[in-house]
Amino acid sequence: MSDLKNTIKIFHGPQHPGITGNMSVELDLLGETIKRAQTHVGYLHRGFEKLIERRTVVQAFTIVCRICVPEPDPNEENFARAVENLTGLEISDKAKYIRTMVLEMQRLATMFLWMGGQAGSIGLGLIPQWSICDRDYMLDLFEELTGGRVYHMYAFPGGVRRDLPNGFIDKLSELLDYYEKRIAVYNDTFFDNAIFKKRAMGIGVVKADEVLKNAYIGQVMRGCGIKKDVRKDMPYLVYDRLDFEIPIQQEGDVYARALVRRDEMLQSIRILRQIIKQMPKEGEILQKIPKHRKFKLPANDTYVQTESARGAMSYYMAGDGSEKIRRMQVRGPSLIHAYTLLEKLLVNAQLADVAMIMNSLGICPPEIER
């Protein structure tokens, strides 16, 4: 506590453009240097898990996508797969390909949103304007496919809710060509930008030996040289039929995490191109499922994991023989990254770097206070 002598206390957030949502970090500053950081949540408690306890599968399905605003689809996938695991539902190949496609589309959209936040956090104002616009092209496709731009409510237990619209694959293919060109432009303007390199290199360094023990995941893990990804290690849907790499970097800092994300965007484009080629023309879109009140979950439990754009996202789900879900617990990357990791990384960091470090960890507060 002697370190905290002569410090001033400020709250970074919840109403701060540099914060990644409705949370705040209480900082004790000595000059501009942070001596202590404490994360506070509680500004957004919507009680998803409590709401879901009293709802049927169909009713709960409309809630789960709202657990993380920037990327709802891994939540939908986890929910659908957990129900399928419990009830023994098998989905068709076509539905598997469509779900994988949606997950990769979502990954790209989330990465563009991240890029805006990351560049904006160090004052590079042009990149957010570009990247939010580029993300919108993907949201247009989501709107055409699912009817919703941000929340899709598309991956349903038993498959997906509707087939691909006419000409969708061609539009996606065109967008992928466009994105590939755009990533080259972002490479010149953002990833190779001297300002970004000077600001991000050597900041927010995570040590590789702490990663597995502390359950850091996603780009934090891969930015330290640990080549692990749920899509490869425990493949779900059709990831075992697709050829892709897991990008890694060794430095463990903000810049390394940014490069991992950039390479993951290129891998997502590669995956989507393979899906376009391999997508079966025929197949059941949605398996026949029992009617709303008769859709009962057995008294059993399961645990599923999906690789989201920010790391592994897990759901624990238990049924009790009735049509209601006994318990569903969400474990995303944010809880541990916002508490165990962020509080530690901010000590002795500069005030101006808080937003940049936080953005690089992929923290999404709604996922912390489910």
Binding site: K50, A215, D301, S314, A318, R331
Partner: protein, 200 residues
């Protein structure tokens, strides 16, 4: 699986749920020593999550620890049950630093105690003094009504039920009047026709 043989020596059964998911059910007294074995002997160094389920009917909390090894190619769920009343679990924050925040959340949401935990302070709620909200006996509706009471009406506000009744009666009376008028008109018409015929 090698782990199954090792657990058999401890008189425990490893249930395979699917290709990547395994489950072991243990008594609460065995939990701490088993978790220690998993991290030290079996090399499951990652604690992915601690899940709590309120089985109110049986009077227990079902706690599930999800662990992963260095290969991260499967998950082992270690499950135990503890009494709901005075629920207590050993804290695991020394083995896994992330357990600190998971246990803090569980303490706030379910009221589970962790003796020796360094920071069982507020997590998402502030100054909460009711039943922990994720317990199933917590009445959400009652709480909402208590915290957000319905605003009283103004002095000159009309009674909606009474007004609806008045409207219904007025509507009924208007309909009756219209019918009577129509009938009278019809009768008048018949009378006029008859008198015209008589005149002719």
């Amino acid at each position: 699986m090698d782990l199954a043989a090792k657990l058999k020596k401890l008189s425990l059964t490893l249930e395979q749920k699917n290709n990547y998911l395994y489950k072991v059910v243990v008594k609460s007294e065995q939990l701490e020593s088993l978790l220690l074995s998993f991290i030290n002997e079996f090399d499951y160094i990652t604690l992915d999550s601690i899940n709590c389920r309120d089985d109110l009917e049986d009077g227990v909390f079902t706690i599930t620890y999800c662990l992963q090894n260095r290969n991260r190619d499967h998950i082992v769920m270690i499950q135990t049950s503890i009494e709901r009343e005075n629920a207590t679990l050993p804290t695991m924050h020394i083995l896994w630093p992330q357990a600190e925040i998971m246990e803090r959340e569980m303490h706030e949401m379910f009221g589970v105690n962790f003796p020796g935990h360094p920071s069982l302070i507020d997590f998402a709620l502030e100054y909460w003094n009711d039943i922990p909200p994720m317990r199933r006996d917590f009445d959400t509706l009652e709480y909402v009504n208590k915290m957000n009471p319905f605003r009283g009406q103004r002095d000159d506000a009309l009674d909606a039920k009474e007004e609806m009744k008045k409207r219904r009666e007025a509507k009924k009376a208007a309909k009756l009047k219209a019918e009577q008028e129509a009938a009278a008109k019809e009768a008048q018409k018949v009378k006029t026709n008859t008198s015209e015929e008589v005149q002719r």
